[in-house]
């Protein structure tokens, strides 16, 4: 009711979504970022350096893998995996981080800060900081530092300081609050490497732009492999950066369905979920208007998911617009269905996916049956599952016994 029903978008807006709802103190920094971003992406020396890093450091282009045996569990549809899990650091997150780290360097900033949920974005940021010789501080919900202990260790090994956030729900949303508070106090030296397509303008556009390489490669690869576009492309959606990267390559092809899968947690009906589209309403969170899990008074409701990376009560504003316009469809996947898809991929393809990604895999198992055996579907394999081994072992009742690493032992000892 209170949402503006604009039909055209002002800069930084997606229909009524997006915008910039931040303290005035951050306006100058966001304006600077906006200026430098636009200058950089048309500056050949910048784009050449980024492409070079993507090729020689990240390991791009990564393959599009035909998942023959997994396809049998997807109604016989032909399923391809876009292998972001093979990137250096193990997920798509590095694409955005390298771009933003180069921007920070260009702006003369010597310190990177980041929020992280699953730890993948924190690891990627710590990696880029080490590569470019920048200081790095990562804010992570205390709850998440426990369930993703392995990634905390990785960040520390890479030289980053990891600050556990003990306020609010102690998860990703609170880590973003803390990162914003740090940024407003240190903005002269610090660039906030926001990890997903949310936040105040121009962050959603910046992050999407650096992830467009996913969609660009996937489009060329499927045309080469199949001689035609896919019928659908699929991704999990937390904040929505891996989805936005893949979607961007196909958004102008109306025959390609865009399908996003959000975390249904224990089930939308239980209230313990992170299903913003299924159960949220338009509101403002972390600087942007978008779909938000909130109560009748506009207070943010804590989200729940087995996957730390999808455990977020907001979503990127461009997704909100794609949802409202009907261009993309978003569906919740519960924890148990995601974990079944996790198991199936491990056993059929020899690939252990991140639990975030497993939500997309569950989605494609449903969608393949819907679209039938003649269909072609690409799913973004956004990250690998090493970080989730302890959680998965617990879920499936695997005894880690004497083979567990210290980090895993600690987690197991805590009964998590």
């Amino acid at each position: 009711m209170a949402v503006m029903l604009e039909t055209t978008s002002a800069p930084g807006h997606y229909g009524p979504y997006g915008g910039r709802f931040v303290p005035e103190a951050l306006t100058a920094a966001l304006d600077q970022l906006d200026r430098e971003f636009r200058a950089a992406i048309t500056d050949e020396s910048f784009t050449r350096r980024l492409s070079e890093l993507e090729r020689t450091y990240t390991g791009r282009p990564n393959p599009l893998t035909l998942a023959r045996r997994f396809s049998e569990h997807c109604g016989g549809a032909t399923v391809y995996l876009k292998r972001e899990d093979l990137n250096h650091t193990g997920s798509h997150k590095i694409n955005n981080v390298l771009g933003q780290a180069l921007l920070a360097e260009r702006m003369g900033k010597t310190r990177l800060i980041a929020e992280t949920g699953a730890g993948q974005h924190g690891v990627a940021t710590a990696t880029a900081a080490a590569l470019l010789g920048l200081e790095c501080v990562v804010y992570m919900g205390e709850e998440d530092t426990r369930r993703q202990a392995l990634n905390v260790a990785r960040m520390k090994l890479l030289g980053a300081e990891v600050i556990p956030v003990t306020t609010g729900s102690k998860t990703l949303k609170d880590a973003i609050n803390e990162a914003m508070r740090d940024w407003v106090s240190t903005v002269d030296q610090t660039h906030y490497v926001l990890g997903t397509v949310t936040g105040p303008a121009p962050f959603p556009e910046v992050v999407r732009t650096f992830h467009q390489v996913i969609g660009r490669e996937a489009r060329a690869q499927i045309l080469e492999a199949q001689g035609r576009l896919p019928d659908a492309i699929v991704a999990c959606v937390g904040g929505g950066s891996n989805a936005m990267g893949l979607f961007s390559g196909f958004i102008d092809d109306p025959q390609v369905q865009l399908r996003g899968y959000e975390a249904g947690g224990s089930g939308v009906e239980t209230g313990k979920h992170a299903a913003r589209f299924a159960a949220g309403t338009p509101g403002v969170l972390h600087g942007a208007r978008t779909y938000v899990m909130q109560d009748e008074w506009g207070q943010t409701v804590p989200s729940h998911s087995i996957s730390a990376g999808l455990d977020y009560p907001g979503v990127g504003p461009e997704h909100a617009w794609l949802h409202d316009t009907g261009r993309a469809t978003y569906t919740p996947i519960n924890d148990d269905e995601a974990m079944e898809a996790f198991r199936v991929l491990c056993r059929t393809e020899g690939i252990i996916p991140a639990i975030e990604t497993a939500h997309a895999l569950a989605g494609v198992m449903r969608l393949g049956r819907e679209l039938g055996p003649d269909s072609i579907i690409i799913v973004n394999l956004s990250g690998r599952g090493d970080k989730d081994v302890a959680t998965a072992a617990r879920w499936f009742g695997i005894d880690l016994g004497g083979v567990a690493s210290d980090a895993l032992s600690v987690e197991m000892a805590e009964g998590r």
């Binding site: 009711m1 209170a2 949402v3 503006m4 915008g19 910039r20 709802f21 931040v22 303290p23 005035e24 103190a25 951050l26 306006t27 100058a28 920094a29 306020t167 609010g168 949303k173 609170d174 973003i176 609050n177 914003m180 508070r181 407003v184 106090s185 240190t186 903005v187 002269d188 509101g283 403002v284 969170l285 972390h286 600087g287 938000v292 909130q294 009748e296 008074w297 506009g298 207070q299 943010t300």
Partner: protein
């Protein structure tokens, strides 16, 4: 006719001093004690009150205010409770504005919020995460219901930004003294004076300085260049540290008196 912000600043100016503005979140430490403490603040020399609307994600606030709003939320403080608090303190003689992050107002309904606030006797709203660019519906609603609209300027604001912000503002301009979040500091940033001077060149509105003011001495210093001094975290800390509500009231009264002397120094 009830007093407006303009009257508060004019009265202070006629006494050749700065106005003193105190902040307290509604529902903190509980609904009734909050109203009681606000009355104490007014009786002890505070000229206008910012009633905070507790929000789950207060990203401009430091640890002290975070703790207070978290307690208020756990205690069930809703937007209706905030409006009721405004009504009660206004009836007790305070001039009250609401300080709120944007989402709760948008969720409540922008028009409805402005109308109900005006009806409760509230005279303005400070919106720390709303800038004029995103404020179209709020500008209309606040105009329609005669509620002052207080936007912020910061040390990082360019002169062009300040011009944009002050042209959309009424009541007073809120100058954030420093780049940072709310909370007491040992000294008020020297950048605050420059910011007030820059804002002064663009507007005839009163300019009040907030963030980091916690002692009478600091209030006196800020009062040499600003029209108003805003104190928040320092009051809350006293309440958090008090052993009971009587001690809280005495401590708040003592701080208000110290600040009131400061703005008169």
């Amino acid at each position: 006719m009830s007093r407006r912000l303009a009257d508060v600043f004019a009265a202070a100016k006629s006494e050749n001093r700065a106005a003193l503005i105190g902040y307290l979140p509604a529902g903190f430490p509980d609904r009734d004690t909050c109203v009681d403490l606000i009355s104490t603040m007014v009786e002890s020399g505070v000229d206008a009150i910012e009633v905070g609307l507790p929000y789950s994600d207060p990203l401009m606030d430091g640890a002290v205010i975070q703790e207070a709003v978290e307690r208020a939320l756990i205690g069930g403080t809703t937007t209706d409770v905030v409006l009721d608090t405004v009504r009660r303190v206004t009836e007790a003689g305070a001039v009250a504005v609401v300080m709120s992050y944007w989402n709760p107002i948008e969720r409540y309904g922008v028009q409805r919020f402005a109308a109900n606030l005006a009806q409760a006797g509230g005279v303005g709203v400070i919106t720390p995460d709303l800038t004029p660019e995103e404020a179209g519906p709020w500008i209309d609603a606040s105009d329609e219901h005669g509620v002052d609209r207080i936007f912020l300027v910061a040390p990082s604001s360019t002169d062009a930004r300040i011009a944009t912000v002050v042209s959309s503002t009424s009541g007073f301009v809120y100058a954030a003294s420093t780049m940072g979040v709310t909370g007491a500091r040992t000294s008020v940033s020297t950048g605050a004076g420059d910011l007030v001077a820059r804002a002064r060149r663009q507007t005839a509105l009163p300019i009040a300085v907030g963030l980091g003011v916690s002692t009478g001495e600091q209030a006196a210093q800020v009062a040499t260049y600003a029209d108003g001094v805003i104190v928040g975290s320092a009051f809350i800390r006293r309440i958090l540290e008090a052993t009971d509500s009587k001690a809280a009231r005495e401590s708040v009264a003592a701080l208000a008196r110290e600040m009131a002397e400061g703005v008169r120094a």
